[in-house]
């Protein structure tokens, strides 16, 4: 089955809003064996909507739209597509009642605004798609040649909910029982460059078991993605499993996880397994490492807290760094990083102390200590390891890379729990 996606709205077309709906829909559909062959975006313009939908229908006969179902005058998706199918819009009193009920549930007082009644207009002969996540229902309209358009709301939460509730089951029911899907698996790597990784992989650098290897560098390291096409979900899983098992021993300890794995989660899990508690001492990252660790539910079992030692006064007074160390080696130095890690571990009575001190820029760099230089030290139970890197990128990127680098040093010190 081939589908086209059309996202609708001036905000999208003008680039004020980044289109995350289209990417989500494409991913979900591909994972269920539907091939998305084209995506388009048009503004809140009835003619442009109708033209884009008509052309897409001529190519594939199957179109999903998002957006333009709201209660205001610039919400034109329904009238434009109804006209394209030669249908009138009917006011459905059952939907009016449903929307009114939803208003009451959310504690709105008084009458439902008249404009919301527009959301109850449905093209004749079309099917209403229940929206359990918001007020505007979706619409499924189909002609005698089984060409169809599914209209979903543009609010991402509602669109996502309805994709899972309604669209995927509907599309699956229309496809044969043997479906060819697009599947992918990702190996997440840290602490190794793209070219070093390719060298390590040798013959498998470009493809493994016939699957092309995609290198996706990001602030979180390098992801290796393998993607299968044109096979059943079961065959894809078998092939991906085999390919991943072939790559794992070659890349070894540089792999910190698969797919959506967060390195902070890996560190929490390994610390929890050992009964270790963590404290952080952050200079240039200013709290970012603490924020990443505590972003994960349940982190309170492992994370005690930390000290943001942005000013050197704080490094001395609250972390117990020796002022002579800072004078002799500078605040960004191995020695200071080591004392920060040991200091926060001691003050917080933690098992693991993690310290980051660096020059995030844009100012403050020197030839000897350039912008991007970051020292990281980790104290696990009195054993301290330190490392440094000169990270590329802007201030924010350097800080994110530094946080990720610190987590990776902890991961390597804890080994496989």
């Amino acid at each position: 089955m081939k589908i086209e996606i059309i996202t609708i709205g001036d905000e999208l077309l003008l680039g004020f809003t980044t289109d995350t709906n289209a990417a989500y829909l494409a991913r979900e559909l591909a994972g269920h064996g539907v091939e998305v062959v084209r995506r388009a975006t048009v503004g809140d313009d009835a003619e442009a909507i109708a033209a884009a939908v008509r052309e897409a229908l001529d190519r594939t006969g199957a179109v999903i739209t998002t957006g333009g179902l709201g209660p205001t005058a610039d919400d034109l998706t329904k009238p434009a597509i109804a006209a394209l199918f030669g249908r009138r819009l009917e006011m459905r009193e059952d939907i009016v009642a449903m929307i009114e009920e939803r208003f009451r549930q959310y504690g709105f007082k008084g009458q439902m605004p008249v404009s919301n009644r527009q959301q109850a207009l449905v093209p004749e002969g079309a099917r209403v798609l229940e929206n359990r996540h918001g007020s505007a229902p979706g619409i499924w309209i189909e002609d005698e040649r089984n060409r169809w358009v599914a209209m979903l709301p543009g609010v991402p939460r509602e669109m996502r909910g309805m994709t899972l509730d309604v669209i995927i089951p509907e599309v699956e029911a229309r496809m044969g029982s043997v479906r060819e899907v697009v599947c992918s698996r990702t190996l997440r790597c840290m602490g190794i460059s793209e070219s070093h990784l390719a060298d390590l992989l040798g013959d498998r650098a470009r493809a493994v078991r016939g699957l092309p290897v995609a290198y996706l560098p990001s602030l979180a390291g390098i992801d290796l993605r393998l993607t299968t096409r044109g096979m059943s979900a079961a065959d894809a899983t078998t092939l991906l499993d085999a390919a991943i098992q072939e790559l794992r021993p070659i890349i070894g300890e540089h792999i910190y996880g698969e797919d959506e794995t967060d390195l902070a989660g890996v560190v929490l899990q390994r610390s929890r397994a050992r009964g270790f508690r963590i404290a952080v001492a952050e200079s240039c990252t200013g709290g970012m490492l603490g924020a990443r660790l505590t972003a994960i539910p349940g982190s309170s079992e492992v994370v005690l807290g930390g000290i943001i030692a942005y000013d050197d006064v704080v490094k001395v007074n609250l972390l117990g760094v020796d002022p002579a160390t800072i004078r002799a080696h500078g605040a960004v130095s191995e020695q200071t990083a080591r004392e920060m890690a040991a200091g926060v571990r001691d003050r917080m009575e933690a098992d693991i102390g993690i310290a980051i001190t660096g020059i995030a820029g844009p100012g403050g760099g020197t030839p000897a200590k350039p912008v991007g230089l970051v020292w990281i030290a980790v104290d696990v139970d009195g054993q301290v390891r330190a490392s440094h890197r000169v990270y590329p990128g802007n201030r924010e990127e350097i800080r994110q890379r530094a946080s990720q680098g610190a987590l990776d040093l902890v991961r390597r010190m804890l080994g496989n729990a």
Copy 2:
């Protein structure tokens, strides 16, 4: 001038990558008076690329593509579009030399990979667009009817650089001297609900001076956006200035800035003006507030640091919160927040202490203290103010709203510097 944008790549079409290029291009072009009428995405498929470009050319005669200019076999943009224009591809030795030079500059050793020569193929009669930001040059191809396609690389940094270097000047040169642009201005508001804001605006809730008012709620508060269309840049600026001046006194202190203003920047600026230094005490946000403040270059003049008091032990030992306070009122309470703010201000010898303690979820809520409950306290020079909210959303959203709420309380206490 009307333009269509076509972004090319399987990763985009499959939704593995979110398309930020299209939004960037649309924004830049609209700001220079170019109307983007449609955007489309197709995969790495020569036929699909050619079809999408042909259709777009038929509609507007002006197309910008991004992606598919790399050195590998799945980079098909140039051959597909050259064929559409009936042109052969020529190997341009001057470009080969340029790419080789770039390799040397970046310190790569040995021969340039043969595959990179593909990047030096140019359709006959096409113009090469210099790329100062990467190795693949762009291409401008035009037919005898002045219908054109500009091909840009897909790497966002390169695409953005070339848009400013080449595309905008080229497009401006082709437009008349009186250009109609799309301009927008945003008033950023905090601490007021969307409906309250609409009530406050009264007659101006839907439109001011003929400009429709868009309400854009986000984790940073509510943005009010006004957008002009179809006027010159000078007229747009005059009208937007007048509209903004009309709204400002009505919304008053709920406005913290315009356009891209970051509330953390406003707080830093007001603190700097008073010679105040800041320390933070964070429980549920785990360092996020510190990270936001220190994300801004120059923050070291104002931010001393902070204490991440995730565990109650840290609240007592390092912030000096009275254990009896926690026992009597709980860690998430006005009293604890107040003691945290005063404690961090005292320990760090700061002028301003900012404290956040809350229940970010998903677990840990009770009927009396539900998930989302956050207490914030700010101590400015010994004057403490506290406030609480029950924030909606998931764990990450609650934490971001809490950080933003804390910054807003500081801003209001400091007044207009």
